[in-house]
């Protein structure tokens, strides 16, 4: 007996001995469900009939577990599970706080809508090539990136969603796709390798990879370790992933080449993972270093917004217009990161929710228009207002949302950001955000004017098939856009909690290390 007691006491130094309740599994479910579903889909690659149903079912389950997770995190604070029972920082922790859980929820919603849209858009060949398995594995990677509490694990999840995104991007293997994928793949690989270099330097300085552990030890190492260098490297690596100017050139080279669903999910979700990683590392791990870099980030943000949207003004292909709109949205989010105040960060987080939904919806709208008229070019699209008023209504709402005009969801995060910029004493940044709004209105307004409003030139080349799935997908995404626009308080509250959670990391640290734990 005595022997056993001694053994148990020893184990407590290394293992989590408290039983893990099944309810805690919501923190791994958003990763485990897509992985298992993706594996099943890979095995059933010839049974293409089953693909859509299985993938949508799994994404629905993931979505529900994300809802539970967010609810749990909002009521009880961050939820932590450390893999394999090892005590943190030795085991890899999954730590969901409000920021990660809410972004994971919105990303899963968007992926769910994309999977529904893909039923009609991705035919048997695309399914056989593996659209749905790649989609599931990408969502596993995205979910893992949002929920993990370990910086090396974050790198692994980045690579998981990156390699799945290569598969999605090249699906179909048309010549422009090969071209776009080559550039996307090489530049993103270099970006994540930069991230790995930073992680290795971080490990050399801290001797730990657990983010909560790094956050609590950062103060001790501030004198001796080159933390500003690390923060700057993180800024470069994740800025590359988020497509911030001047490392954004892979995005306009590739995002218009794949299937429209793929473009929608990439434009909606992937760049936000980069923004999330920036928030996590620069705000939570290295706040003082972020202060030092804030001026640089602010100029980068302003340049990304303005140059991004000016690119959109010069394009004829709707998909390429949208690619540049994605970039300028990233600039708006970086503005909040540069400000670093609670209000600015909640603006950034709110903008990330909004941008995920709106950018996906805009790409899907382009897909619906292409399905009806057979083209993406602003030169030939015309007359939707007369022939398809529903498309026109969606287009108007989404255009207003992307430009940040009422009554859609884009207004409120911009209000928060502009107010934060003026409060911080950076009126030029506020001006840049407002000017971006104006230019976005011009770029997308012209799209509306030409594609929707213009009289059809010649007989309208409209296909007889009604894009019912497209309407459903757009409806599901347009509803939150409108609701958030009219009643933003709950979302603002969530964004403020998320911002508070990364600005003051003590609750996060406390939930990873309940008793102060081992050093």
């Amino acid at each position: 007996m005595a022997q056993n007691a001694a053994e148990a006491a020893d184990l407590a130094h290394a293992l989590v001995l408290a039983p893990t309740s099944a309810a805690d599994w919501v923190v791994v479910a958003p990763v485990a469900i897509p992985i298992v579903a993706g594996a099943l889909l890979m095995m059933l690659r010839h049974e293409t009939r089953w693909h859509a149903g299985l993938a949508i079912g799994a994404l629905l389950a993931t979505f529900l577990s994300n809802v539970l997770l967010l609810h749990r995190v909002l009521t009880d604070g961050p939820l932590v599970m450390t893999m394999g029972r090892w005590l943190p920082p030795f085991g890899i922790s999954f730590a969901a706080d409000v920021l990660g859980a809410s972004l994971a929820l919105v990303a899963t919603l968007v992926a769910l809508v994309g999977a529904v849209y893909a039923i009609a858009d991705i035919g048997t060949v695309g399914r056989r090539y593996g659209f749905y398995p790649f989609l599931m594995l990408m969502m596993a990677g995205v979910g893992g990136a949002f929920l993990t509490g370990d910086i090396f694990n974050l790198y692994v999840w980045f690579e998981v969603f990156l390699i799945s995104s290569f598969g999605l991007l090249v699906l179909g293997s048309e010549h422009p796709q090969l071209d776009g994928t080559t550039k996307y793949a090489i530049l993103n690989l270099i970006g994540t390798t930069l991230f790995l270099i930073t992680v290795s330097l971080l490990y050399g300085a801290f001797g730990t990879l657990n983010m909560a552990d790094i956050a609590r030890k950062a103060g001790n190492f501030r004198e001796t370790a080159p933390l500003t260098t690390l923060a700057a490297l993180f800024l470069l690596a994740f800025g590359m992933k988020a497509a911030a100017f001047p490392v954004n050139f892979w995005l306009p080279a590739s995002y218009h080449t794949p299937r429209i669903v793929t473009a929608a999910l990439f434009g909606g979700v992937l760049t936000k993972v980069g923004v999330y990683a920036l928030l996590r590392t620069l705000v939570m791990l290295f706040p003082l270093e972020r202060d030092m870099l804030s001026c640089l980030i602010a100029w980068g943000a302003a340049a990304t917004m303005i140059i991004g949207i000016m690119g959109a003004l010069a394009q004829t292909d709707i998909r390429r217009v949208l690619g540049f709109v994605v970039i300028s949205g990233v600039g708006v989010m970086l503005a909040g990161l540069a400000l670093g105040t609670a209000e600015g960060l909640s603006g950034t987080i709110f903008y990330a929710f909004h941008s995920m939904i709106v950018m996906t919806a805009l790409y899907l709208l382009a897909g619906v228009m292409n399905g009806l008229a057979g083209d993406y070019s602003l030169r030939s699209l015309s007359g939707f207002y007369a022939s398809h008023p529903l498309v026109a209504a969606f287009a108007l709402l989404l255009m207003l949302a992307a430009a940040g005009l009422p009554p859609a969801s884009g207004l409120w995060p911009k209000v928060l950001l502009v107010r934060a910029a003026i409060d911080t004493g950076w009126p030029w940044l506020a001006f840049a955000i407002l000017a971006t709004g104006l230019l976005t209105t011009l770029a997308l307004g012209r799209m509306f004017l030409l594609a929707i409003w213009r009289m059809p030139s010649g007989p309208a080349p409209v296909s007889a098939i009604s894009p019912r799935l497209g309407y459903i997908a757009l409806g599901v995404l347009a509803l939150p856009v409108l609701l958030i626009g009219l009643y933003p308080e709950p979302v603002i509250a969530v964004a403020e909690r998320a911002a508070a959670g990364i600005l003051d990391s003590s609750t996060y640290i406390g939930s990873v290390f309940p008793e102060g734990a081992v050093q």
Partner: protein, 125 residues
């Protein structure tokens, strides 16, 4: 030992960046391969270098009784090798396919996704 490794790592980074600045995909890929090796060496060096003492806890003890090699960087490097290996394999297939289909591995010639001299959008009705 660290200074020697640092110099080697610096050399690797220099070579890989030089190769990645090339216009030819195959050279860029070679650069990427060397780049990932440079990173692996960086992780290895960041984990401190100790001579050949395996981190095995002797019978009857609960913690290591003397300084031993750090096993974590090796786990990290193994993960990084696996990832970079699979990426490299994918990129190789992709580049080969692109070379066959586009008839070039010169990035200047790969302008199918963003063709030169595209029309501007219409400026009015």
């Amino acid at each position: 030992m660290e200074p020697v490794l640092a110099a080697v790592i610096g050399l690797f980074y220099a070579v890989s960046i030089y190769l990645m600045l090339s216009k030819h995909i195959i050279r860029i890929l070679l650069g990427v391969a060397i780049f990932s090796n440079a990173v692996n060496l960086t992780i290895f060096t960041a984990g401190r270098i100790v001579r050949e003492v395996p981190p095995i806890i002797p019978e009857g003890l609960e913690v290591l009784d003397k300084v031993a090699a750090n096993p974590l960087p090796q786990a990290l490097i193994l993960t990084a090798i696996v990832i970079s290996f699979s990426f490299f394999a994918f990129l190789l297939v992709l580049a080969f396919r692109a070379y066959q289909d586009l008839d070039t591995d010169d990035t200047d010639g790969m302008r199918l996704a963003e063709p030169k001299g595209e029309d501007l959008p219409p400026l009015g009705y």
